[in-house]
Protein backbone atom coordinates (compact mmCIF):
# COMPACT_ATOMS: atom_id res chain seq x y z
CA UNK A 1 0.00 0.00 0.00
CA UNK A 2 1.69 3.19 -1.06
CA UNK A 3 1.18 6.34 0.88
CA UNK A 4 -1.93 8.36 0.20
CA UNK A 5 -1.02 11.65 -1.40
CA UNK A 6 -4.42 13.26 -1.71
CA UNK A 7 -7.39 12.34 0.42
CA UNK A 8 -10.78 13.85 -0.30
CA UNK A 9 -13.00 13.17 2.69
CA UNK A 10 -16.72 13.25 2.04
CA UNK A 11 -16.89 16.82 0.75
CA UNK A 12 -20.04 18.73 0.05
CA UNK A 13 -19.81 21.69 -2.31
CA UNK A 14 -22.44 24.38 -2.76
CA UNK A 15 -22.47 27.08 -5.45
CA UNK A 16 -24.04 30.48 -4.85
CA UNK A 17 -25.45 29.27 -1.53
CA UNK A 18 -28.21 27.36 -3.27
CA UNK A 19 -26.87 24.87 -5.77
CA UNK A 20 -25.62 21.61 -4.36
CA UNK A 21 -22.95 20.23 -6.65
CA UNK A 22 -21.20 17.53 -4.62
CA UNK A 23 -22.97 15.44 -2.02
CA UNK A 24 -20.24 13.60 -0.25
CA UNK A 25 -17.33 12.70 -2.52
CA UNK A 26 -14.53 10.58 -1.15
CA UNK A 27 -11.37 9.93 -3.15
CA UNK A 28 -7.92 8.66 -2.53
CA UNK A 29 -4.91 9.27 -4.76
CA UNK A 30 -1.92 7.17 -3.81
CA UNK A 31 1.59 8.30 -4.47
CA UNK A 32 2.85 7.44 -7.92
CA UNK A 33 -0.52 6.35 -9.21
CA UNK A 34 -2.75 7.59 -12.01
CA UNK A 35 -6.35 7.90 -10.84
CA UNK A 36 -9.25 8.48 -13.21
CA UNK A 37 -12.45 10.20 -12.20
CA UNK A 38 -15.16 9.31 -14.69
CA UNK A 39 -18.58 10.72 -15.15
CA UNK A 40 -21.05 12.26 -17.51
CA UNK A 41 -21.57 15.98 -18.05
CA UNK A 42 -22.56 17.80 -14.92
CA UNK A 43 -21.74 14.98 -12.57
CA UNK A 44 -19.30 16.99 -10.50
CA UNK A 45 -15.87 16.08 -11.81
CA UNK A 46 -14.66 19.63 -12.39
CA UNK A 47 -16.10 20.74 -9.08
CA UNK A 48 -14.14 18.01 -7.31
CA UNK A 49 -10.92 19.07 -8.96
CA UNK A 50 -11.51 22.75 -8.31
CA UNK A 51 -12.22 21.94 -4.69
CA UNK A 52 -8.85 20.19 -4.45
CA UNK A 53 -7.05 23.19 -5.94
CA UNK A 54 -9.05 25.65 -3.88
CA UNK A 55 -10.36 27.53 -6.89
CA UNK A 56 -14.04 27.29 -5.98
CA UNK A 57 -14.37 30.75 -4.53
CA UNK A 58 -13.63 32.27 -7.92
CA UNK A 59 -16.87 30.70 -9.13
CA UNK A 60 -18.77 31.52 -6.00
CA UNK A 61 -18.57 28.00 -4.68
CA UNK A 62 -17.57 26.72 -1.27
CA UNK A 63 -16.86 23.47 0.52
CA UNK A 64 -19.53 23.26 3.17
CA UNK A 65 -18.72 19.87 4.69
CA UNK A 66 -15.81 17.48 4.76
CA UNK A 67 -12.14 18.11 4.25
CA UNK A 68 -9.31 17.61 1.81
CA UNK A 69 -5.90 16.40 2.91
CA UNK A 70 -2.68 16.56 1.01
CA UNK A 71 0.29 14.82 2.53
CA UNK A 72 -1.81 14.48 5.68
CA UNK A 73 -2.27 18.26 5.95
CA UNK A 74 -5.67 19.83 5.70
CA UNK A 75 -5.60 22.07 2.63
CA UNK A 76 -9.11 23.46 2.54
CA UNK A 77 -7.85 26.80 3.82
CA UNK A 78 -4.63 26.98 1.82
CA UNK A 79 -4.48 29.61 -0.92
CA UNK A 80 -4.43 28.33 -4.46
CA UNK A 81 -0.91 29.52 -5.18
CA UNK A 82 0.46 28.03 -1.99
CA UNK A 83 -0.93 24.70 -3.10
CA UNK A 84 1.07 25.03 -6.29
CA UNK A 85 4.15 25.65 -4.18
CA UNK A 86 3.38 22.47 -2.25
CA UNK A 87 3.22 20.53 -5.48
CA UNK A 88 -0.42 20.34 -6.49
CA UNK A 89 -1.25 21.97 -9.81
CA UNK A 90 -4.35 21.82 -11.98
CA UNK A 91 -4.71 21.92 -15.73
CA UNK A 92 -8.10 23.55 -16.15
CA UNK A 93 -10.94 22.27 -18.27
CA UNK A 94 -10.81 23.93 -21.65
CA UNK A 95 -7.11 24.61 -21.24
CA UNK A 96 -7.36 28.33 -20.35
CA UNK A 97 -4.13 29.38 -22.00
CA UNK A 98 -3.20 33.04 -21.79
CA UNK A 99 -4.20 33.92 -25.31
CA UNK A 100 -2.26 37.18 -25.61
CA UNK A 101 1.02 35.69 -24.45
CA UNK A 102 3.34 33.65 -26.65
CA UNK A 103 3.62 29.90 -26.18
CA UNK A 104 6.95 30.25 -24.43
CA UNK A 105 5.67 33.02 -22.16
CA UNK A 106 2.67 30.86 -21.31
CA UNK A 107 4.90 28.02 -20.18
CA UNK A 108 7.12 30.40 -18.26
CA UNK A 109 4.19 31.71 -16.23
CA UNK A 110 4.08 28.30 -14.64
CA UNK A 111 7.49 28.93 -13.16
CA UNK A 112 6.48 31.95 -11.13
CA UNK A 113 6.89 30.11 -7.86
CA UNK A 114 10.35 28.85 -8.74
CA UNK A 115 13.26 30.57 -7.09
CA UNK A 116 16.05 29.63 -9.43
CA UNK A 117 15.75 31.08 -12.97
CA UNK A 118 18.41 28.78 -14.41
CA UNK A 119 16.59 25.67 -13.22
CA UNK A 120 13.42 27.13 -14.68
CA UNK A 121 15.12 27.48 -18.04
CA UNK A 122 16.24 23.83 -17.86
CA UNK A 123 12.72 22.77 -17.06
CA UNK A 124 11.53 24.73 -20.08
CA UNK A 125 13.81 22.62 -22.25
CA UNK A 126 12.49 19.45 -20.65
CA UNK A 127 8.93 20.57 -21.37
CA UNK A 128 9.85 21.06 -25.02
CA UNK A 129 11.38 17.58 -24.99
CA UNK A 130 8.13 16.10 -23.78
CA UNK A 131 6.01 18.15 -26.19
CA UNK A 132 8.04 18.45 -29.36
CA UNK A 133 5.16 19.80 -31.37
CA UNK A 134 5.07 23.14 -29.60
CA UNK A 135 8.76 23.84 -29.79
CA UNK A 136 8.39 25.23 -33.32
CA UNK A 137 5.44 27.33 -32.25
CA UNK A 138 7.14 28.91 -29.29
CA UNK A 139 6.93 32.47 -30.57
CA UNK A 140 3.31 32.38 -31.71
CA UNK A 141 0.51 33.84 -29.65
CA UNK A 142 -1.13 31.06 -27.69
CA UNK A 143 -4.58 32.23 -28.69
CA UNK A 144 -3.87 31.25 -32.29
CA UNK A 145 -2.66 27.71 -31.61
CA UNK A 146 -4.80 24.63 -32.13
CA UNK A 147 -6.65 22.77 -29.40
CA UNK A 148 -4.09 20.01 -29.14
CA UNK A 149 -1.23 22.47 -28.94
CA UNK A 150 -3.07 24.43 -26.27
CA UNK A 151 -3.50 21.26 -24.24
CA UNK A 152 0.23 20.66 -24.47
CA UNK A 153 0.96 24.26 -23.52
CA UNK A 154 -1.30 24.00 -20.50
CA UNK A 155 0.30 20.76 -19.38
CA UNK A 156 3.77 22.11 -19.97
CA UNK A 157 2.86 25.15 -17.93
CA UNK A 158 1.76 22.91 -15.09
CA UNK A 159 4.99 20.91 -15.26
CA UNK A 160 7.10 24.00 -14.73
CA UNK A 161 6.23 24.09 -11.07
CA UNK A 162 7.73 20.57 -10.59
CA UNK A 163 4.50 19.21 -9.17
CA UNK A 164 4.01 15.99 -7.29
CA UNK A 165 0.35 15.79 -8.18
CA UNK A 166 -1.26 17.04 -11.36
CA UNK A 167 -5.03 17.44 -11.60
CA UNK A 168 -6.02 17.08 -15.24
CA UNK A 169 -9.50 18.26 -16.13
CA UNK A 170 -10.89 16.64 -19.29
CA UNK A 171 -7.67 16.56 -21.30
CA UNK A 172 -9.38 14.90 -24.24
CA UNK A 173 -12.01 17.60 -24.72
CA UNK A 174 -12.13 18.77 -28.29
CA UNK A 175 -9.11 16.76 -29.40
CA UNK A 176 -8.70 14.29 -32.22
CA UNK A 177 -8.51 10.66 -31.03
CA UNK A 178 -4.92 10.26 -32.15
CA UNK A 179 -3.93 13.33 -30.20
CA UNK A 180 -5.77 12.01 -27.16
CA UNK A 181 -3.68 8.86 -27.24
CA UNK A 182 -0.56 10.99 -27.56
CA UNK A 183 -1.47 13.10 -24.54
CA UNK A 184 -2.23 10.08 -22.40
CA UNK A 185 1.00 8.40 -23.45
CA UNK A 186 2.83 11.50 -22.23
CA UNK A 187 0.86 11.27 -19.00
CA UNK A 188 2.08 7.69 -18.59
CA UNK A 189 5.66 8.76 -19.18
CA UNK A 190 5.42 11.53 -16.64
CA UNK A 191 3.91 9.07 -14.20
CA UNK A 192 6.94 6.86 -14.63
CA UNK A 193 9.05 9.86 -13.59
CA UNK A 194 7.13 9.97 -10.33
CA UNK A 195 4.28 12.44 -10.88
CA UNK A 196 0.86 11.34 -9.59
CA UNK A 197 -2.25 12.19 -11.58
CA UNK A 198 -5.91 12.70 -10.88
CA UNK A 199 -7.65 12.83 -14.24
CA UNK A 200 -11.28 13.83 -14.67
CA UNK A 201 -12.53 12.44 -17.94
CA UNK A 202 -15.60 11.70 -19.96
CA UNK A 203 -13.78 9.42 -22.37
CA UNK A 204 -13.98 6.32 -20.22
CA UNK A 205 -12.10 3.99 -22.53
CA UNK A 206 -8.93 6.02 -22.70
CA UNK A 207 -9.12 7.10 -19.07
CA UNK A 208 -9.41 3.57 -17.70
CA UNK A 209 -6.83 2.18 -20.10
CA UNK A 210 -4.09 4.43 -18.79
CA UNK A 211 -5.09 4.61 -15.14
CA UNK A 212 -4.28 2.53 -12.10
CA UNK A 213 -7.42 3.30 -10.10
CA UNK A 214 -10.80 4.55 -11.19
CA UNK A 215 -13.74 6.33 -9.59
CA UNK A 216 -17.10 6.85 -11.21
CA UNK A 217 -19.07 9.88 -10.13
CA UNK A 218 -22.69 10.60 -10.86
CA UNK A 219 -24.94 13.40 -9.60
CA UNK A 220 -22.31 14.58 -7.17
CA UNK A 221 -21.62 11.19 -5.57
CA UNK A 222 -19.02 8.52 -6.15
CA UNK A 223 -20.92 5.41 -7.10
CA UNK A 224 -18.15 3.02 -8.04
CA UNK A 225 -14.49 2.67 -7.32
CA UNK A 226 -11.82 0.10 -7.91
CA UNK A 227 -8.80 -0.84 -9.94
CA UNK A 228 -9.08 0.53 -13.46
CA UNK A 229 -8.55 -2.88 -15.03
CA UNK A 230 -11.38 -4.35 -12.93
CA UNK A 231 -13.72 -1.48 -13.80
CA UNK A 232 -13.05 -2.06 -17.47
CA UNK A 233 -14.34 -5.62 -17.10
CA UNK A 234 -17.49 -4.85 -15.17
CA UNK A 235 -20.60 -5.34 -17.29
CA UNK A 236 -22.44 -2.34 -15.90
CA UNK A 237 -19.53 -0.02 -16.59
CA UNK A 238 -19.24 -1.49 -20.04
CA UNK A 239 -22.88 -0.83 -20.71
CA UNK A 240 -23.12 2.63 -19.16
CA UNK A 241 -19.86 4.17 -20.19
CA UNK A 242 -18.36 2.08 -22.92
CA UNK A 243 -21.49 1.43 -24.89
CA UNK A 244 -20.80 -2.27 -25.06
CA UNK A 245 -23.60 -4.50 -23.73
CA UNK A 246 -23.61 -8.25 -23.14
CA UNK A 247 -24.79 -8.85 -26.72
CA UNK A 248 -22.46 -6.32 -28.35
CA UNK A 249 -23.49 -2.72 -28.98
CA UNK A 250 -26.51 -1.77 -26.89
CA UNK A 251 -29.41 0.27 -28.07
CA UNK A 252 -30.27 3.27 -25.90
CA UNK A 253 -33.68 1.87 -25.36
CA UNK A 254 -32.31 -0.99 -23.30
CA UNK A 255 -30.02 0.96 -21.04
CA UNK A 256 -30.54 0.65 -17.34
CA UNK A 257 -29.95 3.85 -15.43
CA UNK A 258 -28.12 3.80 -12.20
CA UNK A 259 -30.46 4.01 -9.25
CA UNK A 260 -29.36 4.25 -5.71
CA UNK A 261 -30.85 1.42 -3.74
CA UNK A 262 -31.79 3.74 -0.92
CA UNK A 263 -34.18 6.58 -1.62
CA UNK A 264 -32.42 9.89 -1.63
CA UNK A 265 -33.66 13.10 -0.09
CA UNK A 266 -32.86 15.45 -2.88
Amino acid sequence: MSKSLLKVNNIEVVYNHVILALRGVTLDVEEGKVVSLLGANGSGKTTTLKACSNLLHAERGAITKGSIEYNDNDISKTDAYNLVKDGVVQVLEGRHCFSHLTVEENIMTGSFIRENPKEAKQDLERVYDHFERIRIRKKSLAGFTSGGEQQMIAMGRALMSRPKLILLDEPSMGLAPQLVEEIFAIVKNLNKEGVSFLIAEQNAMVALKYADDGYIIENGRVILKGKASELLERPDVKEMYLGVGAEGKTSFRDIKYYHRRKPSFS
Binding site: S53, L55, A58, E59, D79, A80, Y81, V84, K85, V89, Q90, V91, L92, H96, C97, F98, S99, H100, L101, E105, N106, M108, T109, G110, F112, I113, P117, L141, G143, F144, R157, A158, S161
Partner: protein, 309 residues
Protein backbone atom coordinates in the same frame (compact mmCIF):
# COMPACT_ATOMS: atom_id res chain seq x y z
CA UNK B 1 0.69 80.27 -43.05
CA UNK B 2 2.29 81.36 -39.84
CA UNK B 3 4.62 78.40 -39.27
CA UNK B 4 6.01 79.63 -36.00
CA UNK B 5 2.52 79.97 -34.59
CA UNK B 6 1.63 76.51 -35.80
CA UNK B 7 4.71 75.06 -34.14
CA UNK B 8 3.85 76.86 -30.92
CA UNK B 9 0.37 75.41 -31.04
CA UNK B 10 1.76 71.94 -31.73
CA UNK B 11 4.23 72.17 -28.89
CA UNK B 12 1.50 73.42 -26.57
CA UNK B 13 -0.65 70.50 -27.66
CA UNK B 14 2.15 68.04 -27.05
CA UNK B 15 2.68 69.38 -23.58
CA UNK B 16 -0.96 69.22 -22.59
CA UNK B 17 -1.05 65.78 -24.14
CA UNK B 18 1.70 64.71 -21.77
CA UNK B 19 -0.48 65.75 -18.88
CA UNK B 20 -3.27 63.48 -20.09
CA UNK B 21 -0.80 60.66 -20.51
CA UNK B 22 0.16 60.87 -16.88
CA UNK B 23 -3.38 60.01 -15.88
CA UNK B 24 -3.68 57.45 -18.66
CA UNK B 25 -0.61 55.55 -17.46
CA UNK B 26 -2.32 54.74 -14.18
CA UNK B 27 -5.35 53.38 -16.04
CA UNK B 28 -3.26 51.25 -18.33
CA UNK B 29 -1.21 49.86 -15.47
CA UNK B 30 -4.27 48.54 -13.72
CA UNK B 31 -5.93 47.32 -16.90
CA UNK B 32 -2.81 45.54 -18.04
CA UNK B 33 -2.50 43.70 -14.75
CA UNK B 34 -6.05 42.71 -14.12
CA UNK B 35 -8.38 43.63 -16.95
CA UNK B 36 -10.08 46.11 -14.65
CA UNK B 37 -11.06 49.50 -16.01
CA UNK B 38 -10.29 51.63 -13.00
CA UNK B 39 -12.68 54.50 -12.94
CA UNK B 40 -11.31 55.66 -9.60
CA UNK B 41 -8.07 56.92 -11.18
CA UNK B 42 -9.25 60.53 -11.12
CA UNK B 43 -10.34 60.46 -7.51
CA UNK B 44 -7.03 58.88 -6.59
CA UNK B 45 -5.35 61.86 -8.21
CA UNK B 46 -7.48 64.21 -6.19
CA UNK B 47 -6.95 62.41 -2.93
CA UNK B 48 -3.20 62.14 -3.39
CA UNK B 49 -2.61 65.75 -4.31
CA UNK B 50 -5.04 67.04 -1.72
CA UNK B 51 -3.23 65.11 0.99
CA UNK B 52 0.10 66.49 -0.13
CA UNK B 53 -1.07 70.07 -0.43
CA UNK B 54 -2.80 70.10 2.93
CA UNK B 55 0.36 68.89 4.57
CA UNK B 56 2.59 71.44 2.94
CA UNK B 57 0.14 74.17 3.79
CA UNK B 58 0.42 73.14 7.40
CA UNK B 59 4.11 73.70 7.34
CA UNK B 60 5.44 70.20 6.75
CA UNK B 61 8.34 70.31 4.35
CA UNK B 62 8.26 69.06 0.78
CA UNK B 63 10.05 65.75 1.00
CA UNK B 64 8.36 64.61 4.20
CA UNK B 65 4.97 65.49 2.79
CA UNK B 66 5.83 63.63 -0.36
CA UNK B 67 6.84 60.49 1.51
CA UNK B 68 3.84 60.57 3.78
CA UNK B 69 1.47 61.13 0.89
CA UNK B 70 3.11 58.31 -1.04
CA UNK B 71 2.82 56.09 2.02
CA UNK B 72 -0.85 56.88 2.39
CA UNK B 73 -1.46 56.06 -1.27
CA UNK B 74 0.34 52.75 -0.85
CA UNK B 75 -1.84 51.85 2.13
CA UNK B 76 -4.90 52.90 0.17
CA UNK B 77 -3.86 50.72 -2.72
CA UNK B 78 -3.32 47.70 -0.55
CA UNK B 79 -6.64 48.25 1.19
CA UNK B 80 -8.40 48.60 -2.15
CA UNK B 81 -6.97 45.31 -3.32
CA UNK B 82 -7.88 43.55 -0.10
CA UNK B 83 -11.44 44.76 0.27
CA UNK B 84 -12.64 45.62 -3.20
CA UNK B 85 -10.69 43.72 -5.83
CA UNK B 86 -9.84 40.44 -4.19
CA UNK B 87 -13.42 39.43 -3.37
CA UNK B 88 -14.40 40.15 -6.96
CA UNK B 89 -11.60 38.23 -8.68
CA UNK B 90 -12.77 36.28 -11.73
CA UNK B 91 -16.14 38.06 -11.82
CA UNK B 92 -17.63 39.78 -14.80
CA UNK B 93 -15.48 42.73 -15.86
CA UNK B 94 -18.47 45.05 -15.93
CA UNK B 95 -19.12 44.31 -12.27
CA UNK B 96 -15.49 45.11 -11.51
CA UNK B 97 -15.81 48.36 -13.44
CA UNK B 98 -18.87 49.30 -11.42
CA UNK B 99 -17.00 48.46 -8.25
CA UNK B 100 -14.35 50.99 -9.24
CA UNK B 101 -17.07 53.54 -9.91
CA UNK B 102 -18.33 52.84 -6.40
CA UNK B 103 -14.78 53.24 -5.17
CA UNK B 104 -14.52 56.57 -6.97
CA UNK B 105 -17.71 57.79 -5.31
CA UNK B 106 -16.36 56.74 -1.95
CA UNK B 107 -13.00 58.41 -2.54
CA UNK B 108 -14.66 61.59 -3.73
CA UNK B 109 -16.60 61.87 -0.50
CA UNK B 110 -13.70 60.71 1.61
CA UNK B 111 -11.12 63.17 0.26
CA UNK B 112 -13.37 66.12 0.74
CA UNK B 113 -14.61 64.89 4.08
CA UNK B 114 -11.15 64.39 5.52
CA UNK B 115 -9.58 67.49 4.05
CA UNK B 116 -11.93 70.00 2.51
CA UNK B 117 -13.55 71.11 -0.71
CA UNK B 118 -11.60 74.28 -1.35
CA UNK B 119 -9.30 75.04 -4.20
CA UNK B 120 -5.62 74.87 -3.35
CA UNK B 121 -2.89 76.26 -5.46
CA UNK B 122 0.42 74.52 -5.73
CA UNK B 123 3.75 75.88 -6.76
CA UNK B 124 6.42 73.33 -6.47
CA UNK B 125 9.21 75.73 -7.26
CA UNK B 126 8.71 77.17 -3.85
CA UNK B 127 9.87 73.89 -2.40
CA UNK B 128 12.17 72.36 -4.90
CA UNK B 129 15.19 74.21 -6.07
CA UNK B 130 15.47 72.49 -9.41
CA UNK B 131 16.05 74.74 -12.36
CA UNK B 132 13.36 72.96 -14.33
CA UNK B 133 10.60 74.02 -11.99
CA UNK B 134 11.41 77.64 -12.37
CA UNK B 135 8.21 79.30 -13.59
CA UNK B 136 10.04 81.40 -16.14
CA UNK B 137 9.74 79.90 -19.60
CA UNK B 138 12.43 79.05 -22.07
CA UNK B 139 12.67 81.41 -24.96
CA UNK B 140 13.37 79.11 -27.84
CA UNK B 141 14.48 82.05 -29.88
CA UNK B 142 17.57 82.16 -27.72
CA UNK B 143 18.55 78.78 -29.08
CA UNK B 144 17.05 78.65 -32.55
CA UNK B 145 16.91 82.16 -34.00
CA UNK B 146 13.78 81.86 -36.10
CA UNK B 147 11.77 79.87 -33.60
CA UNK B 148 10.15 82.66 -31.64
CA UNK B 149 8.10 80.60 -29.20
CA UNK B 150 7.97 80.11 -25.47
CA UNK B 151 8.14 76.76 -23.74
CA UNK B 152 7.42 76.73 -20.04
CA UNK B 153 10.12 74.84 -18.20
CA UNK B 154 7.48 73.06 -16.20
CA UNK B 155 6.15 71.35 -19.31
CA UNK B 156 9.58 69.96 -20.04
CA UNK B 157 9.77 68.64 -16.51
CA UNK B 158 6.38 66.99 -16.83
CA UNK B 159 7.42 65.43 -20.12
CA UNK B 160 10.57 64.02 -18.57
CA UNK B 161 8.61 62.53 -15.70
CA UNK B 162 6.06 60.98 -18.03
CA UNK B 163 8.76 59.72 -20.34
CA UNK B 164 10.73 58.00 -17.62
CA UNK B 165 7.58 56.44 -16.16
CA UNK B 166 6.76 55.01 -19.56
CA UNK B 167 10.21 53.58 -20.05
CA UNK B 168 10.35 52.00 -16.60
CA UNK B 169 6.86 50.49 -16.80
CA UNK B 170 7.25 49.22 -20.36
CA UNK B 171 10.48 47.52 -19.38
CA UNK B 172 8.83 46.06 -16.29
CA UNK B 173 5.97 44.50 -18.20
CA UNK B 174 7.96 43.08 -21.06
CA UNK B 175 11.14 41.88 -19.43
CA UNK B 176 10.51 40.93 -15.84
CA UNK B 177 8.96 37.79 -14.40
CA UNK B 178 6.39 39.73 -12.38
CA UNK B 179 5.48 41.80 -15.42
CA UNK B 180 4.86 38.61 -17.37
CA UNK B 181 2.68 37.17 -14.66
CA UNK B 182 0.69 40.40 -14.49
CA UNK B 183 0.00 40.20 -18.20
CA UNK B 184 -1.10 36.62 -17.66
CA UNK B 185 -3.42 37.62 -14.84
CA UNK B 186 -5.16 40.22 -16.97
CA UNK B 187 -5.86 37.56 -19.59
CA UNK B 188 -7.44 35.01 -17.27
CA UNK B 189 -7.77 35.35 -13.52
CA UNK B 190 -8.61 31.75 -12.79
CA UNK B 191 -5.88 30.26 -14.93
CA UNK B 192 -3.35 32.51 -13.23
CA UNK B 193 -4.50 31.33 -9.83
CA UNK B 194 -4.34 27.71 -10.98
CA UNK B 195 -0.79 28.16 -12.16
CA UNK B 196 0.58 29.50 -8.92
CA UNK B 197 0.54 33.26 -9.38
CA UNK B 198 -0.37 34.94 -6.10
CA UNK B 199 -3.08 37.30 -7.27
CA UNK B 200 -3.33 39.00 -3.93
CA UNK B 201 0.30 39.98 -3.69
CA UNK B 202 0.80 41.15 -7.24
CA UNK B 203 -2.39 43.15 -7.23
CA UNK B 204 -1.55 44.79 -3.95
CA UNK B 205 1.75 45.87 -5.48
CA UNK B 206 0.08 47.14 -8.64
CA UNK B 207 -2.53 49.18 -6.81
CA UNK B 208 0.07 50.60 -4.48
CA UNK B 209 2.27 51.62 -7.40
CA UNK B 210 -0.72 53.13 -9.19
CA UNK B 211 -1.45 55.14 -6.09
CA UNK B 212 2.04 56.59 -6.14
CA UNK B 213 1.78 57.33 -9.85
CA UNK B 214 -1.51 59.06 -9.13
CA UNK B 215 0.34 61.18 -6.58
CA UNK B 216 2.99 62.19 -9.09
CA UNK B 217 0.43 62.91 -11.79
CA UNK B 218 -1.75 64.73 -9.30
CA UNK B 219 1.08 67.01 -8.27
CA UNK B 220 1.93 67.89 -11.83
CA UNK B 221 -1.71 68.58 -12.64
CA UNK B 222 -2.09 70.60 -9.46
CA UNK B 223 0.77 72.80 -10.50
CA UNK B 224 -1.06 73.52 -13.71
CA UNK B 225 -4.67 73.82 -12.65
CA UNK B 226 -4.65 73.78 -8.83
CA UNK B 227 -6.10 71.10 -6.64
CA UNK B 228 -9.84 71.05 -6.61
CA UNK B 229 -12.80 68.87 -7.22
CA UNK B 230 -12.52 69.48 -10.95
CA UNK B 231 -9.36 67.39 -10.98
CA UNK B 232 -11.62 64.36 -11.16
CA UNK B 233 -12.68 65.44 -14.59
CA UNK B 234 -9.14 64.82 -15.72
CA UNK B 235 -10.30 61.24 -15.87
CA UNK B 236 -12.92 61.93 -18.47
CA UNK B 237 -10.28 63.60 -20.61
CA UNK B 238 -7.88 60.70 -20.18
CA UNK B 239 -10.41 58.17 -21.48
CA UNK B 240 -10.05 59.04 -25.17
CA UNK B 241 -6.29 58.95 -24.63
CA UNK B 242 -6.23 55.35 -23.51
CA UNK B 243 -8.81 54.32 -26.03
CA UNK B 244 -6.68 55.70 -28.87
CA UNK B 245 -3.45 54.34 -27.51
CA UNK B 246 -4.90 50.97 -26.59
CA UNK B 247 -6.04 49.88 -23.15
CA UNK B 248 -3.15 47.49 -22.78
CA UNK B 249 -0.35 49.60 -24.12
CA UNK B 250 1.93 51.70 -21.94
CA UNK B 251 3.67 53.50 -24.77
CA UNK B 252 0.19 53.89 -26.23
CA UNK B 253 -0.71 56.06 -23.26
CA UNK B 254 1.79 58.68 -24.24
CA UNK B 255 1.15 58.44 -27.97
CA UNK B 256 -2.58 58.72 -27.36
CA UNK B 257 -1.99 61.66 -25.07
CA UNK B 258 0.03 63.47 -27.68
CA UNK B 259 -2.56 62.82 -30.37
CA UNK B 260 -5.39 64.11 -28.22
CA UNK B 261 -3.38 67.05 -26.94
CA UNK B 262 -2.38 68.23 -30.39
CA UNK B 263 -5.77 67.47 -31.90
CA UNK B 264 -7.57 69.41 -29.24
CA UNK B 265 -5.39 72.47 -29.61
CA UNK B 266 -5.70 72.45 -33.38
CA UNK B 267 -9.45 71.95 -33.15
CA UNK B 268 -9.78 74.77 -30.68
CA UNK B 269 -7.97 77.22 -32.86
CA UNK B 270 -9.02 76.32 -36.34
CA UNK B 271 -12.43 74.78 -35.92
CA UNK B 272 -13.99 76.87 -33.21
CA UNK B 273 -15.23 79.36 -35.76
CA UNK B 274 -16.83 76.67 -37.87
CA UNK B 275 -18.82 75.16 -35.05
CA UNK B 276 -19.45 78.18 -32.93
CA UNK B 277 -20.13 78.05 -29.26
CA UNK B 278 -17.79 77.05 -26.54
CA UNK B 279 -17.22 73.69 -25.03
CA UNK B 280 -16.14 72.14 -28.28
CA UNK B 281 -13.19 70.44 -26.67
CA UNK B 282 -15.58 68.39 -24.62
CA UNK B 283 -16.63 66.21 -27.47
CA UNK B 284 -13.85 66.84 -29.96
CA UNK B 285 -11.45 64.54 -28.15
CA UNK B 286 -14.07 61.83 -28.10
CA UNK B 287 -14.80 62.23 -31.76
CA UNK B 288 -11.13 61.93 -32.58
CA UNK B 289 -10.96 58.76 -30.55
CA UNK B 290 -14.11 57.50 -32.26
CA UNK B 291 -12.75 58.01 -35.77
CA UNK B 292 -9.53 56.36 -34.71
CA UNK B 293 -11.21 53.35 -33.21
CA UNK B 294 -13.34 52.75 -36.27
CA UNK B 295 -10.16 52.06 -38.18
CA UNK B 296 -8.32 50.31 -35.39
CA UNK B 297 -10.87 48.93 -32.92
CA UNK B 298 -8.27 48.11 -30.31
CA UNK B 299 -6.47 51.39 -30.39
CA UNK B 300 -3.06 51.95 -31.88
CA UNK B 301 -1.11 49.47 -29.84
CA UNK B 302 -3.77 47.59 -27.95
CA UNK B 303 -4.00 43.83 -28.01
CA UNK B 304 -6.25 42.43 -30.70
CA UNK B 305 -9.25 40.57 -29.41
CA UNK B 306 -8.69 36.84 -29.82
CA UNK B 307 -11.89 34.86 -29.97
CA UNK B 308 -12.41 31.17 -30.48
CA UNK B 309 -15.93 30.06 -31.07
Amino acid sequence: MDWVYLIEVLVGGLMSGVMYSLVAIGFVLIYKSSGIFNFAQGTMLLFASLTFVKMTENGIDFWTSLFIAAGIMVIFGIATERYVIRPLANQDLLALFMATVGLATFQEGFSQFVWDSDVHGLQMSKFLDIGLLDPAPIFMSDHIPWLDILIPKFDIFASLVAGSLIVVLAFFFQKTKTGLSLRAVSDDHMAAMAVGIPLQTVWAVVWAVTGVIALVAGLLWAERVSVSFTLIEAVMKALPVILIGGLTSIPGAIVGGLVIGVGEKLGEIYLADVFGGQGIELWFAYFMALIFLIFRPQGMFGEKLIERV
